[in-house]
Each structure stands twice: as C-alpha cells, then as structure tokens.
Symmetry: C2
Subunit: 321 residues, 2 copies
C-alpha cells in the first residue's frame, strides 16, 4: 500500500511520553552486563573491574546535525559513535548507554522511532544496549548520551602520559568527515563514501583496548581535528609533538573530492574533526598494534608542529567561537 | 565597588568553550572515588560493588525551570537533586555526576558560573563531585545530568517487588513543590518555605539506603506525583495500592497557602510532583526505618485507590500531554 495522504503522521505529543518510551525500548536486546534495564528509577550495570569509565556528549539539531543532510537513523548512529569513541580512547570497552532525548512536541513519532533504531544499531555493533534515559519536551531536538565502560583490569590511557621519544600513531580515518561536510555544504550528496563518513563516523572500535594492551602512554580521539587533539595531548603531557608530513597519508579519494571542490585535502586530514579516529603515543622501538600507523614523534617542549614548523591556519573546532 | 555599567557582561561565546570548562571545573573538590576527573576523554570512578547504578535526567529552560522564578544557582541545585533522587530511590549511594550543558552563545558567563556553583553545592552535599561532561552551543539552555551510584553490596530496590500485605510508606515532603509552583504562577514570591521547595527540592538523601537495609520490597521517588508514582509501583509489581487518607498528612503550612489561593492543599499532596520524596513498600509487622511514615497498604489487584475509591482528577504529569 502507498502512503495514505489523508492521514496525518502522529506527533510525539499525540503518542505521549510513556507510550513513546515503550516504543523505543520494547523488544530490544540487552547485553548480559545489563543487570537492570530501562523502566525503573535507574539502571544497574555490571562493573566487573571495580571501576567504571563514563563520558557524556550532547548533540543539538542545527549545531551538530541537520535533518536535511542526515536521516534520523544516521543521526542516532553518529550520536552513539561519538560517545563510544570516548570510551575507546581510554582503552576501555563499552558496557552500556543512557540517552536523554529532548524533542519539540510536534516531532513526528516516526522520527523518534528511526532515531532510536539508529541509536540501537550502533550500540549493538559495540555489543551493548541502551540501559536507561529520559525523554522530555524541548524547543530543539537534543540528544544527550552517556556511555559507560570497563577497563578490564588495565589502567586508563589518559592524555597526560606521553613522554619525549614516544612514537605518535593513529588508528582510523582522518579528514573524511570534513570532506563529507564540505560536499554537503556545497549542496552535493555524493560521493557517498565521504558524505557517509560525515553522516556516520566509523570509530576503530577495539583499537583503544588494543593500544592499552600494547602499552600506549597517552591517547585521545579526533573529535576536534588531528592538530587540535594532538594539542590536547601535548598540553596535558607537557611535551612537544612533531608530525611527519610524509607519514600523514592523504587518501586518493579525498584528493579527488578536494580537487573537484577547489579545496585542500591535506587541510581536511590535519584539522577535520568528527572522524573519531584514535591518536596514541607508544614507547619507541616496539611494534605498533596492527590498527595503528606512525605519524610523528614526541619531544621535549610544547605545542604541535609539522616537520618542525607551525601549521598556518585554524586548527580545529571550538564551541561558541 | 559598584557594578560598572559601562562594561557589558561577557558572554560565553566571548569566553570560549575551553576557558568556560576551566571556570566551572577548576579548584573543585572531588571525592576519593573519583579516580580520574574532568579533562580527559572520559572519567573513571570507583565501583566498589562491582556494579554501577546510573540515571539520566534532562532539564530544559521554560519547560523545567524559568530564570524569572529561579536563580541559576537554584536551577543548578535542583538539576542535581532530581538526579540524585533516582539513585536514592534504588537504595544506592551516589558516586559521581556527569553534566551536559547546552547554552545559547549569548548566555552571560556569570549565569554559567552561578549554575555551576549550584550544581557543585548540591553535589557536595551528597559527598560527590562532577567528574565529567560536555558543553555545547544550543538554542535553549539545557542541562542533562547523569548520576552514578553504588549499591554497597545490596540488591537494588526496584518498582516491581511490592507484595500484597506490604505496608506503603513515604520519606520526605509531599505537595510542597506544587504549592510553590502555584504561588509563583499567581505572581507571588512568598511564603519563602513553599516557593523555595519548588525552586530546590530537598530529597531525603540517605533514606533510600536506609529503606534498602530495612528490607524495602519496592521503591520510587515522587517526580510525577504521589498517585502517579504509586501507580508506577502498582503496575510494575502487578498489585493494587490503597492509600489511607487519614495517614496522608496535609501540612498546616500548605493548608494556609491553599486557603489564600483558593486551592486544594490535599490535591497538591496527592498529585504534586518534583518533591523527590521516596515511596517504598515494606513487609508488614516490622518497624519502619526512622525517616518513613506509613500511608497505605498493598493488596491483590491493580491500580491506586484512596480509602478504596478512585481519585477524581488528573493524577500527575506527563510530557507533551
């Protein structure tokens, strides 16, 4: 049957809060670590390590995503991916998510259904579930996610442990999300590979724990951009970081897209955020874990340089600036 | 020195995201259970019990609070209190908070400072700190809080364990927040006791673990209103609950305020939300823990009645309805 144009889509105010919570939680698969799932005052999760890793990210419509560029399903996946990436960047494995959703009353219920499907799909890829949350009325659609994780007996890999002489390495893609954003900003919808990378990042899940096992001395995910996030490590570790430009791969696909747009693919790779790659430092003269590739070195001093020189141009994203 | 009217207050877009995060986190006291606090990709908290309790609440300006009725400091305290109340209602003790804050770019930085002071003050009353979070740009001021807690080796007290024959009891205040809301809604700012109860609830911290130790079979906090929240226990436990009206105290202060406004104080007590009191059920013929007072009984069946009869009128709050 085709769509029935005589029937208006139901809004969430017509469906109501408690019915809507049922719609987005009923029949979903929880992991064995979810000891008490949605429906009570709070959730209870296993924390086998005796410690819990926790991170919160907030995504706001028109600020972090646009429904003319991404489907609700893609927005849901991205919201979970950016959060799980923070757990990955500590060297931990995720154990569960809490989702706070603020929606205008006239939001079609199908938008919330699709968003929830996206949230759940990305969560299940990481082997976890949405264990709790809150749904409220809000003038703009807002998704607030808290991810919890377990360190499996290892120490967390922080931003502050890099030491002079360490090797800097990256796992995952760089510049793809920025390329996708540039394409969308020009009004195009293809190539799908780069546009898709902006809509739904593909964090290298598993590379975080891999780095921790391999003795990573510091780690961060690329949410603000490679140079900006390396700056966070340099500042927190009180060291200097020098990138070796020849080691920083610029994918052929990005070069082609940049050429078509009159843009600079290397700039995307160096400064583009939201790819949720991992940057980590490792002791030298040891093999890197398989997902990581070397891109630079740690030295005494401060700041981030490229082949010993400052990068000219804006290096990353900061809110309200 | 008086205020310098020639100097415009700084907005958060002038201060910038990273400076603002410093302002709201620097120099604050963390509890010993905070193993890694703000400033990294994620926080790390002790979870001595091997399980972690987690709850998220989202509060939105004009929906959950108004700055013409409450100061930023009061809004901060309330946001934390409603969240810690959920941990309390599981019989757990809080261990840490994550705060996601969305603000319009033109928000005065002092508003965020005062809000942060309120968040921290209420957190410290519970002996915990804000261990992480996120600050983003948003069209409306939005506070999303995740509270984490520890069960200290006990089983969580859920909504689903009430059994016929149990006693229903309450700890904390009922109807005060609704009375305060009614006063503010008429344009008054006093009496301070009831207005203050709406601005900043006073959850009976400690009564949750107390109830768990005393063998509570079910528990919930009154965020939606006494009858509505009892309904949540009745539904989840598949039982009926009968309130004994003579046991449900209507405080003299509320009777006076209701009389002045031409309102019904008993209605506030039965249906007013946001007091964050605790309602719990206990096995009969045992002494109740000191903070609890008996208000009814659990029976076979379904639904909530008062002296055996249905309550006439709306019983609670539901979003978008």
């Amino acid at each position: 049957m085709g769509p029935d144009s005589s029937q208006e889509p139901q809004t969430i105010s017509q469906v109501g809060e408690f019915n809507l919570i049922d719609r987005v939680t009923a029949g979903r698969h929880q992991s064995p670590g979810t000891l008490l799932g949605p429906g009570d005052d709070a959730a209870v999760l296993a924390a086998p390590d005796g410690r819990v890793v926790a991170s919160t990210d907030v995504l706001v419509e028109q600020v972090h995503f646009r429904f003319d560029w991404s489907t609700p399903h893609q927005v849901g996946r991205k919201a979970v991916a950016v959060n799980l990436s923070d757990i990955n960047a500590m060297g931990a494995v995720p154990t569960g998510l809490l989702v706070g959703l603020g929606c205008p009353p006239d939001t079609p219920a199908t938008v919330v259904d699709e968003l929830a499907d996206g949230l759940w799909e990305e969560a299940q890829q990481a082997g976890i579930g949405i264990v709790g949350g809150d749904m409220v009325s809000s003038p703009s659609l807002t998704i607030s996610i808290t991810a919890l994780g377990d360190l499996q007996g290892r120490e967390p890999v922080t931003r502050s442990g890099a030491r002079p002489g360490d090797v800097v390495a990256v796992a995952g893609r760089l510049g793809w999300s920025a390329a996708g954003l540039a394409v969308l900003g020009r009004g195009f919808r293809s190539p799908v590979a780069v546009v898709g990378a902006h809509r739904v990042p593909e964090p290298p899940y598993g590379a975080g724990p891999q780095a921790a096992v391999a003795g990573a001395t510091s780690m961060v995910d690329t949410s603000d951009g490679l140079l900006a996030d390396l700056g966070h490590i340099a500042t927190a570790s009180k060291v200097a970081i020098d990138l070796r430009l020849e080691q920083v791969e610029v994918p052929q696909r990005l070069t082609e897209v940049a050429s078509a747009l009159g843009a600079d693919a290397r700039h995307w790779v160096l400064t583009g955020g939201e790819d949720q790659a991992l940057i980590a430092t490792f002791p030298a003269n040891r093999p890197l874990p398989p997902d990581f590739r070397e891109i630079g070195v740690v030295a005494e001093g401060s700041g981030v340089t490229i082949d010993g020189k400052d990068y000219e141009g804006p290096t990353g994203w900061e809110h309200w600036r």
